[in-house]
């Protein structure tokens, strides 16, 4: 069972051997008992999320599994090189798209995909973000199908969430099973908040003359990821601000403090582009700051990630990622892209409609595992429903094969059992370096056979170990 992570069923993959040995030596019920305590721990620290559409006051826990996901040092080196390459390419792509658009001129990406894309922000044209960085934080979603086969599922270049789970999952493992960390060489993930702060500070705007003031911009306590926003602000020693705390004062963004308005230099925003600035984008937004975009363009504040980065992780562009990586790095992509049918192209659409029951169909603008069809497990009616949707609006969809996702063991009442997982490492980009914390968020489909790992749909999480070997 422990061998399933990319290996043949039955053998224990080397990375898991030390953990397996420890597990076998545990007295009956100890792990089960600890596993139950984990829930209390998470409730106590308040690491909860709200499910949209349900009672706002309802704070739910994401299930946690005590069996870690383990990556060997070699696997990690390979993976992190691939991610670094991809992230560099994405940043270069964004710079190009918002300047000369060489990649469109070269015909490697169709111009229509950009011009007609809601994620493309024309107002970013010709603007150089501080430090040249667009994507300060990226969470690359990765799945594994074999010992050496890693696929990138999505490049989350807007406001990837989940890093608080990476940190708290490690924290609880340390509390529950400290001996594991003494016996096994597991790399540290706890530096993330200080790296994040350093990385954000390195992108301070021109107007900042002193030590940069960093703040996290949250939509507020009712947002599903509020815990994470407050957690990151707390861990970084940054302010946690809402739009209502801010206004434009003398060409800077200033926050209302107990000593009057004080300028903020770098804003790590956890609200979407559209809501950032009612004067420049969605006029209905109550979450943003009127005029912040003008201050940004004038060099008065840094917004991280930069507005308009959504064009890089748009699902319509996903299938072009191998070309994008090659175009900007001059190298072959180290990580694979999942083969993707572009339903906007008639011959590809025909192919998709022909084998809907084998494919995963995703909305180009969807997220969170909503609005997708998983052919092999879908009912006839669901398939027909999607067939109609596809014919109606082919540009709105892409299709991918169902990958033979690797499984990792989880702890159940009946013992260890295999479940499908994905993996989101967190990448920090600054003018000086690209830093990837050795670890990440492993999401696991808690239901047997399920491929959906999203927390909004019954997914859980587990600690991720990168071995120092």
């Amino acid at each position: 069972m422990l061998g399933q992570d990319g290996g043949k069923s039955g053998d224990v993959r080397p990375a898991y051997q030390a953990f397996r040995k420890w597990l076998d030596s545990q007295p009956d019920m100890r792990v089960a008992r600890k596993s139950e305590q984990a829930e209390n721990f998470f409730r106590k620290i308040g690491i909860t999320f709200n499910v949209y559409g349900e009672d706002e006051a309802d704070e739910r826990l994401i299930p946690f599994d005590v069996v870690p996901r383990v990556l060997s040092g070699n696997e990690w080196r390979k993976l992190s090189k691939g991610i670094e390459q991809r992230v560099k390419a994405i940043n270069a792509f964004l710079h190009d798209i918002y300047h000369r658009q060489e990649i469109l001129r070269a015909g490697r990406v169709p111009a229509s995909l950009i011009a007609n894309n809601a994620a493309f922000l024309p107002k970013m044209m010709g603007f150089d973000p501080p430090g040249g960085i667009y994507t300060h934080i990226i969470g690359t979603d990765i799945v594994r199908t074999g010992p050496d086969e890693f696929y990138v599922l999505e490049d989350n270049a807007r406001t990837p969430s989940g890093v608080s789970y990476m940190l708290e999952n490690r924290e609880i493992m340390l509390q529950m099973f400290p001996e594991l960390f003494a016996d096994i060489p597991i790399r540290e993930v706890g530096d993330y908040p200080s790296w994040l702060r350093r990385s954000l500070s390195a992108c301070a705007p021109a107007a900042c003359l002193d030590r940069p003031t960093v703040a996290v911009l949250t939509p507020g306590v009712f947002n599903s990821a509020y815990f994470e926003h407050s957690f990151l602000a707390d861990q970084m020693g940054a302010e946690l601000i809402e739009g209502s705390d801010l206004k434009v004062v003398d060409g800077r963004i200033a926050m209302r403090t107990t000593q009057g308005y004080k300028p903020v230099d770098v804003i790590y925003r956890r609200i979407d582009d559209d809501f950032l600035d009612p004067l420049n984008f969605n006029p209905e937004s109550m979450l943003g700051v009127p005029g912040i975009f003008d201050v940004y363009r004038a060099g008065g504040v840094t917004i991280a990630n930069a507005p308009g980065t959504g064009i890089a992780d748009d699902k319509a562009l996903y299938s072009y990622m191998p070309d994008i990586v090659e175009f900007y790095t001059g190298e072959r992509p180290l990580l694979q892209n999942v083969p993707t049918w572009r339903c906007s192209e008639p011959d590809q659409l025909a192919e998709v409609l022909d084998k809907l029951d084998e494919l995963v169909v995703k909305e180009v603008h969807g997220s969170g595992g909503y609005g997708m069809l998983i052919g092999p497990t879908a009912s006839k009616a669901e398939i027909e429903e999607f067939r109609a949707k596809l014919k109606e609006n082919p540009e709105g969809y892409i299709a991918q094969p169902t990958l033979a996702l690797s499984t990792v063991p989880i702890f159940t009442e009946q013992g260890l059992a295999p479940r499908h997982v994905d993996f989101r490492p967190f990448v920090l980009m600054s003018p000086n370096s690209i830093d990837i914390v050795p670890g990440g968020l492993t999401r696991v489909a808690m239901n047997e056979g399920s491929l959906v790992v999203n927390s909004s749909q019954g997914g859980g999480t587990k600690d991720t170990w990168v071995l120092d070997d």
Partner: protein, 315 residues
């Protein structure tokens, strides 16, 4: 620090303080009801008056009985002044100012909410009331202890203390306001058995029976009680103690921010006006008028603090 954070800290601790004060009043009221010293109805009504809820209670429940008042002030989730709602308000404020708290304080607050949320569900049998109130006090003590032991003594802590002592002064003054007639010198200095019970109740409702006896022996007399609750600088719920702390904390803020705000001046004036008098003078001027004046001044100071330190519209 953000004005919003200062406001959240201030209100979080006001709610905690008020929840604890309400628990103490329930405890004292329950004792009177048990011992049948005097009318338990009027005792419950004075508890409701002290927390400013008599009107709201009557509209919903009519006559004040032990079980209805206990439910109303303890577990009623539709009454924002019930202990459960105030604990939730404290926790909601804490969640909103998570970055202004240490992990220990946040976890104590959150755990306290979870414990009481579970405990204060459904009707609490009267036999369980003492234990329930003890748990509430203990949970509160955990939050206070974590605050005391782990928080940086910076401006955030000053707002924590200001919220605590503004609220505490308000609570003590309200108890005095409702019971002032029992403390007037015109009432026999000896006191009937009934009076003595009532006086003890006042002391109990500020957790001060023991410390009063420590200072004054077994002789309970109204003048000493009034002095103890108003001017005694070592009694942690006296008006004098609260205002010493308020002035101190506003002073720390003034030093830290290099700015003396109107709130600093106002607090000093209140201190001088109300706590610089002798007990004789207070009685001569009229205890009732004195307390009413104090309550109004304390309320104005809270408003001034929220203005001077930019608490914002949401406070």
């Amino acid at each position: 620090m953000l004005g919003k954070t200062a406001s959240g800290l201030f209100w979080m601790f006001r709610y905690l303080e008020r929840a604890e004060a309400t628990a103490r009043l329930l405890d004292a009221g329950f004792r009177i009801a048990l011992t049948r010293a005097g009318s338990s109805r009027s005792e419950w009504e004075s508890v409701l008056t002290t927390v400013g809820q008599l009107q709201a209670f009557r509209e919903r429940h009519g006559e004040a009985t032990s079980s209805k008042v206990i439910e109303f002030l303890l577990t009623d989730r539709d009454n924002p002044s019930s202990i459960i709602c105030m604990v939730k308000s404290a926790r909601d404020n804490a969640r909103g100012v998570r970055i202004g708290l240490t992990r220990e304080v946040w976890e104590a607050t959150n755990e306290s909410w979870m414990t009481l949320d579970k405990l204060l569900t459904g009707k609490i049998p009267e036999a369980d009331l003492p234990d329930t109130l003890t748990t509430i006090r203990q949970q509160n003590a955990l939050v206070r202890g974590a605050t005391n032991g782990t928080m940086l003594r910076n401006d955030g802590y000053n707002f924590v203390r200001l919220g605590t002592f503004i609220e505490r002064a308000d609570n003590t003054a309200r108890i005095l306001d409702v019971k002032y007639y029992l403390l007037l010198p015109s009432i026999s200095q000896v006191g009937s058995a009934l009076d003595i019970k009532q006086w003890e109740t006042i002391l109990r409702s500020v957790s001060a029976l023991r410390s009063y006896q420590w200072l004054h022996g077994a002789t309970v007399n109204p003048r000493d009680i009034a002095q103890f609750l108003i001017l005694h600088e070592q009694m942690p719920r006296s008006l004098a103690f609260c205002y010493n702390k308020i002035c101190d904390n506003l002073g720390y803020l003034a030093k830290n921010y290099d700015l003396r705000t109107e709130a600093c001046e106002m607090a000093d004036r209140i201190h001088l006006d109300y706590l610089g008098r002798s007990m004789d003078k207070i009685f001569d001027d009229g205890l009732h008028e004195y307390i009413e004046g104090f309550l109004a001044a304390n309320g104005r100071l809270a408003t001034q603090i929220s203005q001077d330190y930019s608490f914002g519209v949401t406070s």
